[in-house]
């Protein structure tokens, strides 16, 4: 899950990570009050949506830019008024844009130098790593590719956590000395606490800035959280904004289904993540385009299949459905009955190809054939993919 910029700022403040002062507002008046509290001048008003490219975006009411520098409280109020309740379109939102319901009012800072700093879960070493670079504000993947010598990497022993000397070492390698190095060490340590205690898998500060008045501050941040740990991160879960997510994915998650929407027209419903990915692949291999990834888990009960059909059919692009279940331990006949009941409940009227394999599969296929519904039964993966692509027509 992602969080808003103002929520990242609140996390910074809570864990003592130095960042320019600012507050979030839901109304224009509130934005004006916050601007007054912050001194009225040298401030920035920023529209709060998850997508990037806000500064260059345009509101549907014609107002240009989701990020504005302002110098009076009246101006703060006026600009916030033009953003709030309006839809902002950026290169990342798609043409439909995103509704802005909050703005961040924050003190602007004069930057003398920018750095990159991140703490992340490193898969290769099964541990945590600090990544830093003097090339702040840049795309870090590009820096790593073109000038790998400019990437500083420091691994953290998970048994003892980040040690102070490691933070000092990174600061020194960035070329920081004296008071600036001390500030950086303090910021790195605070960020480590935030990362660990919030079960993050990534906290990226880009840029980490040194201001003209010699303060080390975190300006922009990106957070990733470990989904598996959300059960013990109530404060993190409270920051979730479902209006920023694909509504189909939100609905699926309520039924314990794993759904990811794609651009194609053949929907699939599969048990198991590996088989679900493979089903998408085989649809494509036979000339079709998958409309989604959907893993119903081990069970594939009538309730789950019904919920899955409803979510799939909510996508207007879908012209056919491929159900691929390797029954294993579950009785295929029970699964077949579940599919029939679900198809009846949602009054399915597009081609449905079902491939069942496993326990009691013959009875399952007979049940499908005798249902009187327009269900095509398939033998094996290739047959299933060929049949659904033929039914829908090649993309």
């Amino acid at each position: 899950m992602n969080i808003h910029e103002y929520q990242a700022k609140e996390l910074f403040t809570k864990f003592g990570v130095a960042t320019p002062p600012g507050k979030v507002a839901s109304t224009a008046e509130e934005a004006g009050q916050i601007a007054a509290e912050l001194g009225g001048a040298g401030l920035v008003v920023k529209a709060q949506i998850h997508a990037g490219g806000r500064g260059k975006g345009t509101f549907k009411n014609g107002f240009k830019g989701g990020v504005h520098v302002i110098n009076t409280t009246a101006e703060a109020q006026e600009i916030a008024g033009k953003m709030l309740g309006q839809t902002l379109v950026t290169h990342q939102t798609g043409p439909e844009g995103k509704l802005v319901s909050k703005v961040l009012v924050v003190k602007s800072v004069d930057i003398s130098k920018e750095y990159y700093f991140a703490i992340l879960f490193d898969r290769g070493s099964s541990s945590h790593a600090l990544i830093a670079s003097t090339e702040g504000g840049m795309n870090i993947e590009e820096v790593a590719e073109k000038t790998p010598e400019k990437i500083i990497k420091e691994f953290v022993n998970p048994a003892i956590g980040l040690q102070a000397y490691q933070a000092r070492k990174v600061a020194a390698e960035l070329g920081l000395t004296g008071a600036l190095a001390n500030q950086a060490v303090k910021l790195f340590s605070a960020l480590w606490n935030l990362y660990l205690k919030s079960d993050c898998s990534l906290v990226e500060v880009n840029p980490l800035a040194i201001t003209t008045d010699n303060q080390v501050v975190a300006l922009d941040a990106k957070f990733n959280f470990d989904d598996n740990a959300l059960y013990r991160q109530k404060d993190v879960v409270a920051m979730r904004d479902t209006s920023e997510e694909d509504p189909r994915e939100v609905a699926a998650s309520e039924f314990g289904l794993n759904y990811i929407g794609l651009d194609g027209n053949i929907a699939c419903l599969v048990n198991g993540a590996g088989l679900a990915m493979s089903t998408m692949d085989i649809i494509k291999l036979h000339g079709g385009e998958p409309a989604n990834f959907l893993d119903v888990g081990g069970g594939a009960t009538k309730e789950q299949v019904t919920a899955a059909f409803k979510i799939i059919l909510g996508d207007p692009n879908v012209k056919g459905i491929l159900v691929n279940i390797f029954g294993g331990i579950m009785d295929c006949n029970i699964i077949a009955n579940g599919i029939i009941a679900a198809a009846q409940e949602v009054s399915l009227n597009i081609p449905l190809v079902v491939r069942l394999e496993g326990n009691n599969v013959e009875a399952g296929k007979k049940t499908l054939a005798d249902s009187g519904l327009a269900i095509t039964s398939a033998d094996g993966l290739t047959d299933a993919a060929t049949k659904i692509v033929a039914a829908v027509g090649k993309a």
């Binding site: 879960f121 898969r123 290769g124 099964s126 541990s127 945590h128 993947e141 022993n157 998970p158 048994a159 660990l196 079960d199 898998s201 470990d226 989904d227 598996n228 740990a229 059960y231 013990r232 794993n258 990811i260 794609l262 599969v270 048990n271 198991g272 993540a273 590996g274 088989l275 679900a276 990915m277 493979s278 089903t279 998408m280 692949d281 085989i282 649809i283 494509k284 291999l285 998958p290 990834f293 893993d295 081990g298 390797f326 029954g327 294993g328 331990i329 394999e357 496993g358 326990n359 094996g380 993966l381 290739t382 993919a385």
Partner: protein
């Protein structure tokens, strides 16, 4: 032979009285697996009954191992307690701990892995279907089934299977069995980014196992475990290998069900992995329907 487990391996189940654990403990007993003990804290002294089977339940793994001679544990406990359960199995000195549990926080697994350094115990999983060494009876009855895989789809034979995914493993096994080829051992290493055993570890075991003549390796997008295994196999593996990589159509940056199935860069896409594996002399299947066929192209010709 076979790897890691064989038909006489004695196993214990951590979380045997839970819904998930008890269902699969029963299926393993029905398959003829030597399931000799259960562990549920606070329920020591009870008996887990299924048909004519009476399995003693213990409070701790140490007690269960000591009393019954179990050397392998399978874990079905919920995510908040799973890290502790794994370390309890390690502490009891078991040979193998298999964690089926899905959804263990990454931070917990990082700590478990660090704490296991230097121990004699091997961990398989978490978030995995477990292992099967098929038996010699009808529908492979009498085998050692650890975890959640359907036993009857197997057949004892000479192909080793290693995979990150459950149902995709069953798919490969079924393709082999229906063509008349059996399996030595099938190992599901799990779909999490931090796991105890990777593709390379299992390839090395298959390479040393006299019963295993050929290998199917199933991977997916994310990480570099398959590539690492392929590069090793190129110079070191004496046996033919076929591979399939799931996720050719997966969008970058999205987690495809498995916590570890996420494209992070240019190197961990399905296309990149398949290309490197093919360069390593591995027979790569483009379709999940052709996993056994890809192996038979280079084996038993």
């Amino acid at each position: 032979m076979a790897i890691l487990i064989d038909t006489d391996t004695k196993i214990l189940v951590q979380g045997i009285t839970g819904d998930f654990g008890s269902r699969h403990a029963k299926a393993s007993l029905d398959y003829g697996t030597q399931l000799v003990a259960g562990v549920t804290p606070g329920k020591g002294g009870q008996t887990f009954e299924h048909g004519s089977h009476k399995v003693p339940v213990f409070d701790t793994v140490s007690q269960a191992a000591k009393e019954t001679g179990a050397t392998v544990s399978v874990i079905f406990v919920p995510p908040p307690f799973a890290a502790d359960a794994i370390l309890e199995g390690v502490d009891a000195g078991l040979d193998l701990v298999v964690a089926i549990t899905e959804g263990i926080p990454v931070n917990d697994m990082i700590k478990v892995k660090a704490a296991m350094k230097g121990s004699k115990t091997r961990l398989i999983g978490p978030n995995c279907p477990g292992l099967v060494t098929p038996g010699h009876g009808e529908k492979s009855h009498g085998g050692c089934r650890i975890g959640i895989a359907p036993g009857y789809i197997h057949k004892r034979g000479n192909v080793g299977v290693v995979s990150r995914s459950g149902t995709l493993t069953y798919e490969a096994v079924w393709q082999l069995t229906t063509r008349g080829y059996g399996q030595s051992t099938c190992v599901g290493i799990g779909g999490d980014p931090v796991n105890g055993t990777n593709h390379l570890d299992v390839l090395k075991l298959f390479n040393e196992d006299p019963e295993t003549e050929a290998i199917i390796m199933i991977g997916e997008i994310g990480g570099n475990a398959e590539v690492e295994a392929g590069l090793w196999a190129k110079d070191n593996c004496k046996k033919p290998i076929a591979a399939f990589i799931a996720g050719a159509t997966a969008p970058p940056g999205r987690r495809m069900g498995h916590a570890g199935a996420i494209i992070g860069g240019a190197d961990d896409t399905a296309a990149a992995k398949k290309r490197i594996l093919a360069e390593c002399g591995i027979s790569v299947a483009d379709s999940p329907a052709d996993m056994a066929a890809a192996l038979l192209k280079i084996w038993k010709k």
